[in-house]
Symmetry: C2
Subunit: 367 residues, 2 copies
């Protein structure tokens, strides 16, 4: 039975995405009872309490299919964002918006432009869909929009911009993005991934919603980060009604589960939890910046909830050392940064343990 | 901004799937307080109580991404099914298995064979992926495997078989399916959709798991039906390790939410709920058969939890009459059966109200 003859070429050689290990897996495999996960940019405070409460009320209806139209969530989001429900696509995580964009718009062998290092799913999904992927290196860990613009050809169909970026935590500002958009041909779709949007308390962060009817543009956001609902899988896209119509044609009618819809709806009312989460993150990030500096390590100044740190050739070894000591952090080799790690800002005790272990490791490796 | 120039041709003209209306929508739009949904083949008893209990324990971890590998669920399923975890793909509903199969294996303009009337998603997803779709009519509301085999050409890549079928509720037996498989070229993938598998208490239902390593074959099952977890979105595929590897390459690494994983795991232990659900369904089905006969209506003898009933040219009007009176049933026009409706077997009181309304309607329309 020769299955390799049957599989699509674009899928055959795709490398599997390697997510941060789940806490249960590390406990099971290493026999540890207490494990901190600082690997996947999750909210260390937990989930929005209002979301959890709302979700419980839905448990009695789980025998029913979810609302395919996500009526109540779209209604509420449209009021908050000052758009129409016809501008919104709800996804099984904002990851799904990436997949839907490719599925609706990318013809085989058209070109996609991605940065490096950036969110790995852009390239992964693009390859699955048979895209030619052009990779444009970042400049000092920041999106190089000039180089991306210069890389555009007649074949270019979609450009993915993570803003702020994951893993780097850097951003490109309003003036930079608007200049970039104004120079692009109008047959190129820009996917502006704002998964970490809520972390951006700066005045010059781009506000692109007003541009969705002016050019092909899809803005994506998620409930996985600051709202603490990564386990439920829910995110959304904002785009013109016509783009939205096609994204919705490409999706499974029941892509978003009922509990995710109920939880996201309630989370939008939980300003208190968002505020607390952002404050905790900011304090933790400042603490980690100061301690990394004290330890003499280079790192990227992040605006989000993760920090890329240069370790040197021992980076993979360090990740293992952390794992054995009950902290999951991220090896950056999948991003082509073998000498770096990425750590998610945690609770105070998690950040302190991270720094303590890091100090110990550096001390021992110097000897 | 000319988006129609940018969208893929295969997506542009796809018709949206029209699901059964959610109860909340009917209440909202018609101002009704009490609505019975007998439109989407859901479990009228609710969800497995063990599943609901297990799911609650996971609520404290929703800030974490789901386990991408679905370790515990695959482990348990593999023991029950006597396969290996490497044979299993977990999907965001078994619908996703259909999409993954096409995404991993179907090259643009290869051919897919589907029956008619059958589950609409096969054709819908196939069109999105750019397949040529060959439609083979059923024979007396039953899959015509001989005709399907004769429709196979060199271009044929995937054949979808719903067994038992939805909407018809009929099945093709072991001898028929095995003869069919033995005559197929081994470069054709058979997708054997067993969403209603648990309802089949007949001895000659095909047992195909032993064939997964003999030919390209994907068996799909779901937790949406007898386990009552449609709202959570979880199903699975059983196939050879190589096919499974490629299905997994084509999926989003976080496609299955954490609560669905926990609930499905526990539901597999809830034999009591399954038994009760199947008994309720059988009683309800017998009652409906007898009453439909009494009313002089033609219907398809179903083995599952839904019944296709011939109404005549008033079928659409009947569906509206039911809606206004608080029962959601399914118009069959999307299946090309404008004179038929599909009703899901409900609770006793739901079945009785359905028959009462149907009797009233027929009486009034005779006058």
């Amino acid at each position: 039975m020769d299955i390799e003859r049957l599989v699509k070429n674009s899928v055959k050689d795709v490398e599997n995405y390697k997510p941060g290990k789940p806490i249960s897996e590390v406990k099971r495999e290493l026999g540890l009872s207490d494990v901190y996960k600082m690997a996947s940019n999750e909210n260390p405070l937990g989930s929005s309490p209002k979301a959890l409460k709302a979700l419980k009320r839905e448990l009695k209806c789980l025998n029913r299919y979810p609302d395919s139209g996500c009526f109540y969530l779209k209604d509420k989001l449209s009021k908050i964002l000052e758009v129409r429900p016809e501008n919104l696509t709800i996804g099984n995580g904002s990851d799904e918006l990436i997949a839907l964009t490719l599925r609706a718009f990318l013809n085989h062998s058209e070109e996609v432009i991605v940065a490096k290092p950036t969110f790995l799913m852009y390239e992964l999904y693009s390859r699955i869909e048979g895209a030619r992927v052009k990779v444009v290196p970042m400049k000092n860990f920041k999106y190089d929009l000039d180089a991306i613009r210069q890389a555009v050809t007649e074949k270019t169909k979609i450009i993915f911009i993570a803003n702020p970026d994951n893993p780097c935590g850097t951003y490109v500002n309003r003036v930079e993005v608007e200049r970039f958009l104004s120079c692009l041909p109008d047959n190129v779709i820009v996917f502006h991934d704002e998964a970490y949007y809520e972390f951006m308390d700066v005045e010059d962060y781009p506000q692109l919603i007003s541009s969705i009817n002016r050019r092909p543009l899809i803005i994506s956001r998620t409930f996985s980060k600051v709202y603490g609902l990564a386990g439920l899988r829910i995110g959304y896209g904002i785009a013109s009604p016509k783009i939205t119509e096609y994204l919705n044609k490409a999706r499974d009618p029941f892509n978003v589960n009922s509990l995710a819809q109920a939880a996201a709806l309630a989370a939008l009312d939980d300003g208190g939890f968002v505020k607390k989460s952002l404050e905790l993150n900011k304090r933790g990030r400042e603490y980690l910046f100061a301690e990394l500096q004290r330890l003499g390590l280079e790192f990227v100044k992040s605006w989000t909830n993760c920090i890329v740190v240069k370790i040197g050739r021992n980076a993979a070894d360090l990740v293992n050392y952390f794992l054995k000591n009950g902290i999951i952090i991220r090896n950056m080799s999948a991003w082509g940064l073998g000498e770096y790690i990425r750590v998610t800002v945690g609770l105070e005790k998690e950040n302190r343990k991270f720094i303590r272990l890091l100090g110990n490791y550096l001390l021992n490796s110097e000897q």
